[in-house]
């Protein structure tokens, strides 16, 4: 996709910067903050002594920090991170292990590490660390990646972190695994073995669900949410989505966010977007994510080396998996599991690391040579 008509500028050795991606990021962040305020103001009023901007302020702080991080990382050559990759990967293990012992509870899951007034979600950091780590490892062994043994080895490397994260946060573990599979898929010239992995994965999930009673129950709730008490959240989400109609009730007019959809600013935020902005707004948002993913594809395809390309593919996989799983859960297309919607859902750690990832992607885009 490199613009051929700019061949004349060749002598200047001008570097590329993906402004389209930057605009998409900024647009998504702003949209996210508006929706966050809309969905969280009621909960803020109730839980934070009448401060309807409580959640907005926290998210805004994290977003500003994230933007600063993004701009800094975007200016640094991504190869700079190679030397810290192993350290970061190991650190993510340590933090994920720490959270199991000294993590603080929220809605029954230990996912946060409290450091003074700040709380930090190690699993968000783990995703970034895994992307960087796998991109580096796979680019080093890319010649042998088609061997099944190598592939297995690479996946095994991810085993401990997947296990550590998976204890409390199965959905993030699945995303990490998914990112790993996508990275290997892209690096490997083969197809057949991935089809086998896919079939194997589905079989494994099936057994997994049948072995654990509470997961089988989840499956039943998924199929008939109206018959189960635990289907409450899913059902409330569906009410919100369904009552949106084509054009929605208008920004701020959601009824379901008034305590019916629990914690509307978190995982279920997409349902409130549907209710307020309608099918039109929801499809626009999905299109925006598609555009972003398309930009990642362009950057990855034009990256100067496999390492850079794999970093961007990892980020692309990360964003795509979260968007797909989140929307699929909210629309009850798959059984309920807690996954946030990138850039939109409430979550400081998530915003910080997502923007850092964006910084990396932009950094890779800077290395795209306008002329090869």
């Amino acid at each position: 996709m490199s613009p051929r008509n700019e061949r004349s500028r060749r002598p200047k050795k001008e570097n590329y910067f993906d402004y389209s991606l930057l605009f998409i990021i900024i647009f998504l962040i702003c949209f996210g903050l508006v929706m966050l305020y809309s969905t969280s103001s009621y909960n803020g009023q109730i839980k934070a002594n009448g401060d309807s901007a409580f959640y907005l302020k926290k998210q805004l702080t994290a977003t500003i920090l994230g933007l600063i991080a993004m701009m800094i990382i975007a200016r640094i050559d991504y190869h700079f991170w190679e030397r810290f990759t192993l350290l970061a990967f190991l650190l993510s293990h340590v933090l994920s292990a720490a959270v199991l012992f000294v993590g603080s509870d929220f809605n029954g899951s230990k996912r946060w590490l409290k450091i003074g007034p700040l709380s930090f979600q190690p699993s968000e950091f783990a995703k970034l660390a895994v992307i960087l780590f796998l991109a580096l490892v796979i680019s080093k062994v890319s010649k042998k990646i088609k061997q099944f043994r190598t592939m297995l080895l690479v996946i095994t490397l991810c085993g401990p972190i997947v296990a550590l994260v998976g204890v409390n946060n199965l959905s993030t573990a699945i995303i990490i695994l998914g990112i790993a599979v996508i990275l290997i898929f892209v690096a490997s010239p083969k197809y057949l073995q991935f089809i086998l992995i896919g079939v194997g994965g589905i079989a494994f999930m099936g057994i997994f669900i049948y072995l654990e009673q509470y997961r089988a129950e989840r499956l039943k709730i998924w199929l008939n949410p109206e018959d189960f008490d635990k289907g409450y959240q899913t059902l409330q989400g569906l009410y919100a989505i369904g009552s949106g109609g084509i054009l929605g009730k208008g920004l701020g007019q959601s009824m379901q966010k008034l305590g019916f959809v629990p914690e509307a600013q978190n995982d279920m935020i997409f349902s409130i977007i549907c209710e307020e902005l309608g099918l039109f707004g929801a499809v626009c948002l999905i299109l925006l994510f598609m555009l972003m993913i398309w930009r990642f594809m362009i950057i990855a395809n034009n990256a100067p080396d496999l390492y850079g390309a794999l970093i961007v593919v990892g980020i692309m996989g990360h964003i795509a998996l979260q968007v797909i799983l989140n929307i699929a859960v909210v629309t009850n297309s798959i059984p309920n599991t807690g996954i946030t919607l990138p850039f939109i859902s409430y979550g400081g750690t998530s915003a910080l690391f997502l923007l850092s990832e964006m910084g990396l992607a932009l950094s890779v885009s800077r290395q795209v040579k306008l002329e090869k």
């Binding site: 009552s243 099918l279 929801a282 499809v283 993913i293 797909i324």
Partner: protein, 643 residues
């Protein structure tokens, strides 16, 4: 640096396409949810958000023949709690328990129950409701509401009936005319959040309640009061178990009064009106309440006794088996088959004409008439007069006639039926049947309901009731009227006689079953004026102590009622010459006695033949009542003040 290769790019494109397709599928899913299923989910969501608050419709009033309101509504409050909004549960519990006079446990149960809204108490007086509102407790709701209110408390309680907690009629006219009186509740539609807090300026639907229609009835509260007073007097004097009185218009069936003593307080219908004898369980209490609410005029049957001879006489005259001049002989009994049936006069009435037989209420005469009629004819007239079917009175729970099966009636049964024994009818049935005999032969439907009007007076419906003409001929009806007038003027019904009024009637004394209990029912049915009856009254005294003859104790009740209501109904007294003389009837002008001495005054009054009562001691008249030059009855009492 390892360059990415062509296959890498191809695979990245494949990943992108896969993502694209999955997102497309999700968009498809969104289309399904937000277009195809939109209405379904929207409806479900609305049900969740909307709270319907009911606004009770005002129940229609009941208005009597004089325009008096005998049943209306009063504003009361309903106290509810909203669990989610309560901030100080302990304070709420103690205040509500205190103000509403409920136990703390009951209030606590309501307050702690997790529901969107929970009623604590209904029908709370407005003052208490206002007081609770003034505490401004979070989560406590005071809604104004209507409660049925009966301005006259006990007046015609068993006729009017009362309403339950949902304002629905429970007994009496309230239940019979439920559909007209009820009205249609309205509602306020509000939106609430998940905690049940109403959202301000959210779209609010409102459906105004439609007030119930007013029922206009023929009951006249003045006549009812007169009748209740007379009934109360005799009930007390004779220590009777209960007294029932029906006053109706025999021409069209409009009931003007229906008394069933003891009455109960309609504003407090769940409290027993008897002396409470210790603790009673719920079931017993309910049975006793049901008993208290019974309308004996309609719900219970009794052996009519001699009043029923009116039917036998009418049937005999109509069928031509007896004439007024036929002579009978009463030795004090009559033998029918193997039975010796006694007359109430053990010595016997001797030789008498049919008219005299009726006036004497002589059993052998009626046995003879009954036997002459035969079983077929008796039943023919029972059917023709409407005795075998219910009267169709517009009150719930009318009891039917308890009669022998025709094929089981032998001569003995025929004989006893002829003077009103061995079967049972309701008082309303007797009053209705006698009405049709004296009104010229039209079987009417007794009723209260006259019309239904909207709250603004607009006529909704005039009730019409079935009538059946010529159940007996006009001639027989006329003959019966004159015979029955004689019963009152010269026969057993003398105690119902009022000079100047032509009153017809018949007495009865019957026994309750089993006869060994020696409990009597004493009754009198009368009508006036005899030549063109405009009012008919039946008084039934259950289980009077001491003298129990209908002619002695029931006839004076009707006499007293007629004495009060005939002038009230605008029926003039017309005196015959012998009446003027016998009862000293006429008016005089009151002379001036003030200033005269006691002896002078008394000599003047002697001339006029007036009764006098002196107040205080002394010799000089200082004041008099009535005042000088007032026109007074010759029978009036004069009061003189002395000094």
């Amino acid at each position: 640096m390892i360059k990415s290769k062509t296959f890498n790019r191809k695979k990245i494109v494949i990943v992108f396409i896969a993502i694209f397709l999955i997102l497309l599928a999700l968009v498809g899913r969104l289309f399904y949810l937000m277009i195809a299923k939109s209405e379904y989910y929207q409806e479900k969501a609305d049900q969740l958000h909307e709270r319907e608050r009911e606004i009770k419709a005002a129940r229609g009033k009941i208005i009597d023949a004089t325009g008096q309101i005998v049943a209306t509504n009063k504003t009361v409050c309903t106290i509810s709690v909203i669990h989610n909004q309560i901030k100080e549960p302990e304070k709420v519990i103690s205040i509500l328990a205190n103000e509403l006079e409920l136990s703390e446990e009951i209030v606590r149960k309501r307050v702690e129950k997790y529901s969107s809204i929970e009623r604590v108490k209904t029908n709370v007086d407005k003052e208490i409701g206002d007081k609770i509102r003034s505490y401004a407790l979070a989560g406590v709701k005071v809604d104004e509401d209507f409660k049925r209110y009966y301005p006259y408390d006990t007046l015609a309680s068993k006729v009017l009936g009362f309403t339950g907690s949902d304002n629905q009629g429970i007994i009496g006219l309230e239940v019979k005319y439920e559909t007209y009186l009820k009205g249609q509740n309205g509602y306020i539609l509000t939106m609430t959040d998940a905690r049940g807090v109403e959202i301000e300026d959210a779209a609010e639907g409102r459906m105004e309640p439609i007030a119930g229609n007013d029922l206009y009835i023929s009951l006249d509260s003045n006549i009812q009061k007169f009748a209740e007073q007379s009934a109360a007097k005799v009930m007390k004097a004779k220590s009777a178990e209960s007294v029932s009185i029906i006053v109706m218009n025999p021409k069209n069936g409009e009931i003007m009064a229906m008394v069933n003593l003891p009455e109960f307080n309609l504003n407090d219908p769940f409290t027993l009106n008897t002396e409470n004898t210790g603790l009673i369980d719920e079931k017993t209490k309910q049975t006793m309440l049901n008993q208290m609410w019974r309308n004996r005029c309609i719900n219970d049957t009794y052996e009519p006794g001699s009043t029923f001879k009116i039917l036998t006489a009418a049937a005999g005259l109509e069928e031509g088996v007896v004439t007024l001049e036929d002579t009978f002989s009463c030795p004090g009994f009559k033998i029918v088959e193997d039975r010796r049936i006694r007359c109430h006069k053990i010595a016997g009435h001797g030789g008498e004409t049919f008219i005299q037989g009726v006036m004497n209420s002589c059993n052998p005469v009626f046995i003879e008439v009954g036997l002459r009629l035969g079983v077929d004819n008796i039943f023919k007239y029972f059917n023709q007069l409407g005795l075998m079917t219910k009267t169709g009175v517009d009150l719930p729970g009318e009891a039917g006639t308890i009669m022998h099966k025709k094929e089981n009636v032998g001569l003995v049964e025929l004989a006893t039926m002829s003077f009103g024994q061995s079967f049972q009818i309701t008082p309303i049935q007797l009053a209705t049947t006698v009405s049709s005999i004296v009104n010229g032969g039209t079987r009417i439907t007794p009723h209260f309901g006259v019309s239904v009007r909207a709250y603004d007076g607009e006529l909704i419906k005039n009730f019409t009731y079935p009538e059946k003409n010529n159940v007996i001929s006009k001639e027989t009806s006329e003959t019966m009227r004159s015979i029955l007038e004689k019963v009152v003027s010269e026969g057993t019904g003398k105690k119902a006689y009022i000079p100047g009024f032509r009153i017809g009637g018949k007495t009865a004394t019957s026994q309750t079953l089993p006869r060994s209990a020696k409990k009597y029912i004493s009754s009198f049915i009368g009508f006036a004026p005899a030549e063109d009856p405009q009012v008919l009254a039946l008084a039934v005294i259950y289980d009077p102590k001491g003298i129990y003859y209908g002619g002695t104790i029931a006839a004076p009740v009707v006499q007293e009622i007629f004495g009060n209501i005939l002038p009230y109904l605008g029926i003039e007294q017309v005196y015959e010459a012998n009446e003027i003389e016998e009862f000293n009837i006429g008016d005089i002008t009151m002379p001036n006695l003030v200033g005269l001495s006691k002896t002078e005054a008394s000599s003047i009054l002697k001339e006029y033949d007036l009764n006098v009562e002196y107040l205080n001691e002394g010799e000089t008249v200082t004041d008099q009542f009535p005042l000088a030059n007032e026109t007074i009855r010759k029978t009036s009492n004069i009061i003189l003040y002395l000094e």
